[in-house]
Symmetry: C2
DNA sequence: ATTAATGCAAACGGTTTGCACTACT
DNA sequence: AGTAGTGCAAACCGTTTGCATTAAT
């Protein structure tokens, strides 16, 4: 949307947030943050590395992962695990949500706020369990694939 | 808790089931099957390898994984993914269930039949989604860890 | 001048694969 | 005998780590 050099909230404050912790603002971190700012929902670590490489071919995986660590520390991303088991980073955790993953077509959807809240409440009541929505991935079949009946 | 009578004894017929498909009954497969027969609920691939090694120290990982493949083909196990991303094998014919995974203490519980059914129904209604319970892992905090307040 | 962060390479853990050999049928 | 299955080692993939070097502060 805007490639002006400043990021939309909460990305614009990242530099300051890092500095407040005595951490540094580097070109590599800028790359990772810019990719994250353009990302809605979720990315796997490997995906993020690829996208960063598209921006800056000299991107090194370990730097990306280390950057993700510090971004998670300051609360800008949150990691969970997808249905395929890979690390999955959720961007803008203020909109925490679980995922639906279709085993038929591989599609992914977010679980809406109401069913999500219902699930949280359900497990709180039945098991006293405090669900972390960002870690919920439900596998099954989407309406289209259910109709298609592929097994 | 144990519905002993209502389920067939699937493990005793494995040999025949394999033969019917032109597959073979080997000491290695016997080991894997015996370990699975003694397993309730779920195991990761790595766990299974370890347990098999306890029975027969000469157990080789690739053999275990290959055996799991054929056992899945004949419907004796089903694989999913745990919260930590590792492959997880669900032993049948237990009823399918999701899991609760506590981020605090690492504990694991099965999601009970009623809340599970409620979740399935919920997502069916809200998204038309056909949930595969065996692939559901919900991460959060168990009652004890919630009380402890560890973050 | 500090010392956090990087680049690189190597290590990791769980899983998969290629291939010659073994052994079930 | 024929071929499924094994053992082994090496490859794999995403991720992590050790360490000397670079660069933000």
């Amino acid at each position: 949307m805007f490639a002006t050099g400043s990021f939309a909230e909460p990305w614009s404050s990242v530099r300051q947030r890092l500095r407040d912790r005595g951490l540094r603002w580097t070109p590599q971190r800028r790359t990772v943050v810019s990719v994250l700012a353009a990302t809605r929902g979720h990315v796997t670590g490997a995906e993020l590395v690829e996208r960063c490489r598209a921006v800056d071919p000299s991107t090194i995986p370990s730097t990306v992962y280390r950057t993700l660590d510090v971004l998670e520390e300051i609360g800008l991303v949150r990691h969970g695990h997808g249905a395929d088991g890979r690390e999955e980073f959720h961007v803008r955790p203020e909109e925490e949500h679980g995922h639906l993953h279709c085993a038929g077509c591989g599609g992914r959807w977010e679980i809406g706020a109401e069913p999500a809240a219902a699930i949280v409440e359900l497990l709180r009541v039945s098991d006293g369990f405090a669900v972390d929505l960002s870690h919920v991935t439900v596998v099954g079949r989407c309406p289209a694939c259910t109709r298609a009946g592929t097994s």
